[in-house]
Symmetry: D2
Subunit: 331 residues, 4 copies
C-alpha cells in the first residue's frame, strides 16, 4: 500500500522547522477575541445532535475557541473551559494509538480514502467486502478500536486512550461521561449493525460487544477546547508533545494522520472544509472541531449546532475566519 522503500543513502532531511516565527505578526489573542465577537450573530444556526437524548440538551448558543502553539502557549476565548463530548474527535487520537501499536499493518483492514458517503453508511462496506474506506467513518473507527483492544486487552483499550489524552493535554482529570456512554449504547443499533457486518467478513478480530462498548465510551470522553488544542499539538510537532516534552507518536505517523484528516475528517463535507479552511481537521457531533497547523500549533472550537453534514456550523465558520485572518491556510 505504501511505495517501495527508499534506496539507501537518502536520509530524511532535518525535521520541519518551527514555522511559528513566520506568524510573528499575528496577535493570536486578539484574533480569538474578534472571532468570538463576530460569531455572535451565527450562534444557534444549525441543529444540535439529537440522536441520543444526552447530547440534545447541549446549549445551542455555547461557543469556545482555543489555540495552542507548538511552544506550549495556549490562547483562549469564549466557553474555552467547558467540557463537552468530543465524539468523533476521539477517532484521531485512537488512530495514533493504533498506529503506535500495529504500525502500517493497520491498513490491511481499513483504507485511507474518502468515502463519498455519510459517516454511518453501510453500502460501501458491502461493495468492498467489509473493509471500511477510512478510519474516520464509524466503521473504520470500529476497526481502529478493535485493533487497540487486540494489543491492550479487553478492558484496557479505553484506559490506553485516556492515558494518551491526559498526557498530551496535561490534564489528569479527563474522563468518560458515563451517562452519555450509556445513551450511545442504548441508541447504538446502527453501529452494532456495522460491527456485526464487518465481523461477518473477518475484518473485526475481537468480540463485537467489547469493541462496541469501548467505542461508545471513547465517543463519550469529555474535554474542553483548551484541552483539545493542547492534546492535538503532537500532530503539529511531528509527534513531540510540548506539554509532557515527550514523543507521543512517530513523526511519519503524524504526517499521515494529518493527511487522512484533510481528506476524510469532515465526512462528506471534507472537500468543503479543505476549500474554506485549508487545514487538516476533525469534527465531532458534539460540536467540536480540531484543526492542525504543522509547525505552528493546533486550534480547537466548539459550538453544538451542526450543519446538514453533521459538522459544527459556527465552528466551521470560526475556523474559516481563523485561517483567513492569520494566513495559516496550507494551500
Amino acid at each position: 500500500m505504501t511505495g517501495p522503500a527508499e534506496p539507501r543513502g537518502h536520509p530524511t532531511p532535518a525535521a520541519q522547522t518551527n514555522r511559528l516565527s513566520s506568524f510573528g505578526h499575528i496577535d493570536w489573542q486578539q484574533t480569538l477575541d474578534d472571532i468570538c465577537t463576530d460569531i455572535l450573530p451565527h450562534l444557534g444556526k444549525g441543529q444540535v445532535a439529537d440522536y441520543i437524548p444526552a447530547l440534545a440538551s447541549a446549549n445551542p448558543k455555547a461557543f469556545g475557541i482555543a489555540f495552542s502553539t507548538i511552544e506550549g502557549t495556549t490562547y483562549t476565548a469564549g466557553d474555552w473551559n467547558t467540557a463537552f463530548s468530543i465524539q468523533s474527535i476521539s477517532k484521531v487520537f485512537m488512530l495514533s494509538v493504533a498506529l503506535a501499536e500495529e504500525g502500517e499493518k493497520l491498513w490491511r483492514r481499513v483504507g485511507r480514502e474518502p468515502s463519498g458517503s455519510s459517516f454511518n453508511s453501510i453500502v460501501q462496506l458491502e461493495r468492498e467486502h467489509g473493509r471500511p474506506r477510512n478510519p474516520f467513518i464509524n466503521a473504520g473507527a470500529l476497526v481502529v478500536t478493535d485493533t487497540v483492544i487486540s494489543h491492550c486487552g479487553d478492558e484496557a483499550g479505553i484506559d490506553r486512550l485516556l492515558a494518551f489524552l491526559r498526557e498530551s493535554s496535561g490534564d489528569q482529570a479527563i474522563v468518560v461521561d458515563e451517562k452519555i456512554a450509556r445513551s450511545e449504547a442504548a441508541y447504538g443499533d446502527r453501529n452494532r449493525a456495522l460491527a456485526y457486518f464487518m465481523k461477518s467478513f473477518g475484518i473485526l478480530r475481537e468480540d463485537v460487544p467489547i469493541t462496541l462498548e469501548t467505542y461508545f465510551r471513547q465517543c463519550a470522553i469529555e474535554m474542553s477546547v483548551a484541552n483539545l488544542s493542547k492534546a492535538g499539538l503532537y500532530l503539529a510537532a511531528e509527534g513531540l508533545c510540548p506539554i509532557s516534552n515527550r514523543a507521543v507518536a512517530n513523526d511519519a505517523h503524524t504526517n499521515r494522520v494529518n493527511a487522512i484528516m484533510m481528506l476524510c475528517g469532515h465526512y462528506d463535507r471534507s472537500g468543503d472544509f479543505a476549500y474554506r479552511v485549508g487545514l487538516a481537521g476533525k469534527s465531532g457531533v458534539g460540536g467540536g472541531i480540531i484543526a492542525i497547523i504543522p509547525g505552528v500549533g493546533c486550534v480547537a472550537v466548539w459550538s453544538p449546532p451542526l450543519n446538514d453534514a453533521g459538522n459544527s456550523y459556527a465552528g466551521t465558520l470560526a475556523l474559516e475566519w481563523f485561517s483567513h485572518r492569520t494566513g495559516v491556510n496550507l494551500f
Copy 2:
C-alpha cells in the same frame, strides 16, 4: 456553499511569504538527478494506458522530472523535454479559466467533494441528479469545459486554454496533438454517455458535441514536464505567474484549486497520494503528474505506465521521494 462573508474590518493578512528560503539547504538539481537514478529499477512497472491506440504506443521506460521555483528557476532531469499528452492535468488549468470567467457560481453545477468512485463513474451522477462531485472526475471536467464555452464561444474554448498554458509556461509552441484528439473522439462513448446524462438533467448548457470536442482536444494537449512545472507555478504563487510576471488567476481561487487537487486529484487514490506525498497534485493517464508546493514551486513528473487507479506508478514514487527528501510535505 461558502460561509457567510467576513464581517467588515478584517482584511486578509499580507500574502503568504515566499517560503523558498526555508529550503535553502536543499540542492534541487542533485535531488532530481538522484531520483532519476534511483527510479531506474521501477521503470516499466504498471500498465501504459491503452484505451486509445494513440496512447498505447508510449515508451514504458520514459521518465522525466522538472521542478520550477516561484522565483522562476527550473531544474530538470531525465526526459524533461519530451512532450506528452497531458490528459487530465488539463482539468486543473481549465478549472482556473472557468473560475476566472464564472466565479463561485460554478459550484452550483459541480461539487468539490471526493467521489469515492472511479474517474468515469456514472453511478454518483444518477444519485445526485446529474451534478458531478468534483471538477476532476470526467463528468465534472465536462461541466467546467461547458462553462468556458459559455463564456468564450464554441470554437474559442480550446484557444482560451492554449493561451493560458502558453503564457503561464512561456512556451508559444504548445498545441493539441490532433491524432490523439481524433482517437479520443473515436473511443469516447463513455464520455458521450456522461455528457448526455448531465444534459438530460440540465447540468450542461451548451451543445453536447461541441463540449465533447473541446474536452477531447484539451486532453490531447502536449507538454513536457519542464513546461508543466512552469505552467503550474501560479498555483504556488497565489495567482502570479513568475514567467510572464502577470496575475493569471485570483489568489483566493488558487488556494481553492489546490485544496480540490489535494482531495480529488488522483481519483480514488487521492487519499493514498496525500498520505505518501503530502502535496496537492493532479495526474493524467498520459503518465504525467504535477504537484504544488505553495510559496515554493511546482514539480512535474512523467512516466507512462500507470497503477491500477490510473496514476503514473513511477511518477507517484518519484514524488514520494521528492517530498520525503526535501521535506516539502505540507503535513
Copy 3:
C-alpha cells in the same frame, strides 16, 4: 443460461389446451361494462406523463378496455377505439421479433431478471458492465431494437415491427405518430446516455443514432386498446395469431416472453402488479397496459394518468378488478 438440453425421448406434451371453456360462466361484455362504470370515480387520479410535450396533452379522463379471446372474439368498452401512444408496450412485440431473428443468443447481451430500480436507471449498467437486466427497462429495449436492426437493416427495423403489429392485430392502418417521435428525440438525452454507455461496453452493435431513432419511433406507434388486445393474442395462444391464423412466434418464446412480462413488465412495481392482478402484463407511459391470460385471451386497458412508478393508475385498478371478477388470476 438455460439448462442442459432435454435427454432424448421426452417430447413436449401436446400444446396447452384451450382454457376458454373453463370461463364459460363469465359474461365478458358485462364485466367490461361494469368496470367502465365503476372506474369513473377514479379517472383523473395520478399524473399524465409530461416528459415530452406531445404526451402531456392526453385527456386525463379517457378510459378504454378491450378483451380478445384466443378464438378471435373481441369485447370492448369505453374509449376502445381511440389510438394512443403505446410507448413501452412496443417492447414486448419488438422482443418477439428479436427472438424470432436472434434466438436465445439474445440473452448474451441482455438479462431477464427484475432490476430493482426505475426504468431509466444507469446504475445497474455500470455495475454489470453495460448488460441491461431485462428487455423491458429502457436500456434493455435498446439492445433488443439494436438486434432487430442487425437482422433487418437500418431503416427496416421499424417496418418489421409495424408489419408484425399490423398482421397480429389485423389492422393495416397502424402507424408511427411522427410528431411524438420527434418529441421523443428532442427530449431523449437520457436514452442517448444509456445507448452510448452500452456502446462503450460493446453491448450495442449498430450505430447509436440509428438505434435511437428506431427506438423513439417504436415508442411513438399509435394503437387502440382493441388493436392491442388482438395484437397480444399470440402470447396467449403459444405463438399462433388467431387473426391471421398464422404462427407469428415460436411457442417456447411466448412462454418465456410472458414470464419476463410477469417479472419485469411494470418496472419497479412488477411485484405489486403480480400481487394485485396475478397476470403477466406490460405497461407504457402513454397509459396503456396489456395483460395475457394463457389459453384464454388478452386484455388491454388505457387511461393516461400514471401512478408514481409510471404505470396507468386507473388501468392497473381496472385490471385488478378484471382479474378478481373473472378469476383469471394465474395464482
Copy 4:
C-alpha cells in the same frame, strides 16, 4: 399499497376449479421416475452450501422428488424420504403465518418487489430506510419472523410454525435440527447486522436476539420432499389443506404468496426460474425447492449442490423438465 376496495355488488367468482382433470393424460409416477434417471449425469454439479459446517456435509449425489395433488395423492422418487434442512423454504410458511396474524398491515414494514440483488444484501436497506424489498430475502424474512413473535410471544414463534407444518404435511415428527440451528447462530453475524440495521430504523419491533434465535431455528427445520410437497398444497388449493381438510390460510393470501414466490422466490435468479420453469417456487440453500401448480398440486425436489445464485442446480433442472414434460408451465 393495494388498490381501492371493490365497489359493492361484484362478488368474487366461484373458486378456481380443480384443474387436475386437465392433466389426466399425465403419468405422474412415470414422470418422476424418468426425471430420477435422467438427472443422474447432473448430480454433483454445483457447490454444496458451506457457510456453516453442518450443511457442508450433505451428500452431493442425493436427489429426491415428490409431487402431491390437491386431492391428496403423493408420488415420489429417489431420496424422497430423507429429511434435510429446509432453510429459506421456511420463509414461505412463516409468511403465511404472519399474514394470518397481521394481515395486509404487514406490508408497511416489508415490500413485495424483487430486489435486484443477492439474498443477504444490505445496500437496498440503506437506500430504502430499513424496509426490505420482499419477505424472501433474509432481511424481509426477519421482519416476518419478528411479526409472528409479536403475535405469538417470544418462545412461541417457532412452535407456531412447527404446528403449521405438522398439520399441513400430516407429519407430527417434524422438528428443528438443533445442531444446525446452533451452527447458524455461530455463523450468523451477517444476519445479526441485517437485524440491528433494521432495528435502528424501527422496522423490527421485538428484541433482536429473540428474532434471530427464532429465525436461525426456522431455517434449521428438517423435512423430506414428500413432506414438503404435502405442506405446500394449501398454496395450490386456495388455502385449503387436503391433508387435514381444513383451511390453513386465507384464499386471497395464497394467490398473493404465490405471486411473491414467482417474483422473488429464487433471489437474483427468479427471472431465470420463471423463464425456465414457469411456476411460482421457493428454494433453500439446503438444496430443496418447492413449486406450486395452482389447482393441481405441489412439487418438491432436493439436491444439495447449488448454482452460483444459491439455488439447487439439479433441483432447478428437474423442475424445468417436470414443467416441460407435463405442460404445467403457467405461461
